[in-house]
């Protein structure tokens, strides 16, 4: 959807940030792309959103987006969540950008907590909002110590965490933010996506950019980069599985959320990725959904 003239605010530079700030962020992004998975500090700016609402992702998006881009914003898989709506409205206002809810139509997707089910393409950039970029933070007390371990590629502490989980619970219990080794070198947080989404990062055709505003760090996974979720040979990494399919579209390949269906005792599971679910329902329905207002 292209914004109406009265939606676009005057008095701002394109995409809110001034050009010098964008250049600074882009330089950090270039460095991050050159060293896949390595956290690069950047001079995070005040954004008109509270920290924790994706200011890191916002700045990354603002720095790489152009007037011809089509933006999609998702939060927990849906474009309708408050956070997604306000970020989308923000870019419509300060950049006059076209936005979409369709993964296939977007050239840039900013997201929190999910990666779309629809495979991304070389033409797309995925921007992930990251609250805590340091995967070792729970395991080593100080930031300097974590940076040393990265420099030494010494990730024994993370394997110890996996070891302790298996010893205690028989399996690795991390459901979200499951650490990955990027390009065989740097340990990185995939952001709080479910481990279900980790395999989508491996050899992805799209560029993935990760922005952490509060921690002032960003990192990248370039297209076609090896991304391995940490595991043991005899306890291989596994994604979540469900015994049922999506109650709406029947998909057995997507990440499902449990929803209350009203009826007592009735558990219902539906796709967390609402666009994916809708697209599947449209494809199977004889009549196509009426086109949403003004999509180009």
């Amino acid at each position: 959807m292209i914004p109406n003239d009265d939606e676009v605010a005057g008095g701002y530079n394109f995409a809110y940030l001034d050009e010098q700030t964008k250049r600074m962020v882009r330089r950090a992004i270039l460095k991050a792309v050159c060293i896949p998975g390595h956290q690069v500090p950047f001079g995070s700016r005040e954004m008109p959103l509270p920290a924790g609402w994706g200011t890191g992702g916002l700045q990354v998006t603002a720095s790489v987006i152009g007037p011809d881009d089509v933006l999609k914003v998702i939060d927990q898989g849906t474009d309708a969540a408050t956070n997604a709506v306000s970020i989308r409205a923000f870019f419509r206002r300060v950049a006059g950008l076209a936005t979409t809810e369709r993964t296939r139509e977007a050239s840039l997707i900013q997201t929190r907590h999910r990666i779309p089910e629809t495979p991304l393409t070389e033409e797309q950039i995925l921007v992930l909002q990251v609250p805590q970029p340091e995967p070792l933070r729970q395991l080593v007390p100080r930031g300097a110590a974590a940076r040393r371990l990265h420099a030494f590629a010494d990730y024994g502490v993370m394997y110890v965490k996996l070891y302790e989980d298996i010893a205690r619970f028989g399996r690795v219990t991390l459901a979200y933010d499951y650490p990955v080794l990027v390009n065989g070198r740097y340990l990185a947080s995939p952001s709080p996506i479910p481990r279900f989404d980790n395999p989508k990062l491996d050899n992805s055709r799209a560029l993935s950019l990760f922005g952490a505003g509060r921690e002032r760090r960003l990192y990248a996974i370039p297209p076609y980069t090896r991304v391995a979720s940490l595991d043991f040979g005899d306890h291989p990494f596994e994604v979540q599985r469900w015994s049922v399919g999506c109650a709406l579209c029947g998909s057995r390949a997507s990440y499902l959320d449990e929803i209350g269906s009203g009826g007592p005792g009735a558990r219902m599971f539906v796709c967390s990725d609402t666009d994916y679910c809708e697209e599947r329902r449209e494809a199977s329905a004889p009549a196509r959904r009426a086109a949403g207002g003004g999509r180009p």
Binding site: Y159, Y163, A167
Partner: protein, 259 residues
């Protein structure tokens, strides 16, 4: 001695704050499988020397060569930090006086033993378990304690666990800084027995710091006597203890005999 040298210190010097000469002009070699004791009063520079050898403190002068995989010797302090950590990882183990300095108290006993193996790239849980259990047994920690936190262990058991952790990666060199220091006498004896048999069995070269000449006699083939940062006497352990040459060593031996 014809055995290969696994560690060599030459002209080692470490000064603190421009004034305190903790180590000076230290030269010695450690041969494969040999046990060398370092004795000397508190403050004579024993721990500082060990820290320089273990890559924890950069000497102000001199070199530390250690044998790495394949038998080649590298100059530890000429390597960059990453290469140094890598060389030390597989070549050298360090046992601190206080087990809390060498263990991670927040992770299980098994995790403590297995961590260095994970660092060196073992990615098979079952294998890690097996090795951890084997090491617990070797250091006389009951196998059923494998998932317990070391903070629930007695001091002696913690120390034995620390020894297992430092030996598990199979280093050629083991450095021990007063390993029996904080323990009760009865517990010390058991630990010494264990250390002696482990070191012999594994053929690891050990450098053991102690202020206890009894420990030195029991474990060491050779002794270095340190005073104010310098090695003032060196020789076969029995020779040094039975026929000390330096006046300081004579006093040291005499004072120990009186106890």
């Amino acid at each position: 001695m014809s055995r290969a040298v696994v560690l060599r210190a030459s002209g080692l010097r470490k000064v603190f704050g421009g004034r305190v000469v903790a180590c000076a002009d230290i030269d010695f070699e450690l041969a494969a499988g040999e046990v060398v004791g370092i004795v000397g009063e508190s403050g004579s520079g024993k721990s500082t020397l060990l820290r320089c050898l273990a890559g924890l403190a950069a000497p102000d002068a001199g070199t530390v060569e250690i044998a790495i995989d394949g038998g080649e010797r590298v100059d530890l302090w000429q390597l960059d930090e990453v290469a140094r950590a890598q060389a030390l990882r597989s070549a050298l183990g360090l046992v601190h006086q206080n087990p809390r300095d060498g263990l991670k108290l927040g992770i299980s006993a098994g995790g403590n033993v297995a961590e260095p193996l994970m660092v060196s790239g073992i990615r098979h849980y079952g294998r890690l378990r097996e090795v951890a259990l084997d090491w617990l047994e070797r250091v006389e920690v009951p196998r059923r304690r494998i998932d317990d936190l070391p903070s629930t262990f007695s001091g002696g058991m913690q120390q034995r666990l620390q020894i297992a952790r430092s030996l598990a990666p199979g280093p050629r060199i083991l450095l021990l800084d007063e390993p029996t220091g904080g323990l009760d006498v009865s517990v010390q004896a058991r630990l010494l027995d264990l250390l002696r048999s482990l070191v012999r069995e594994l053929g690891v070269a050990a450098l053991i710091v102690t202020h206890d000449l009894g420990v030195a006699r029991l474990l060491a083939d050779r002794l270095l006597v340190m005073l104010r940062g310098r090695v003032i006497e060196a020789g076969l352990a029995d020779q040094v203890l039975d026929d000390p040459q330096a006046p300081y060593t004579q006093k040291l031996v005499a004072s120990m005999l009186r106890i």
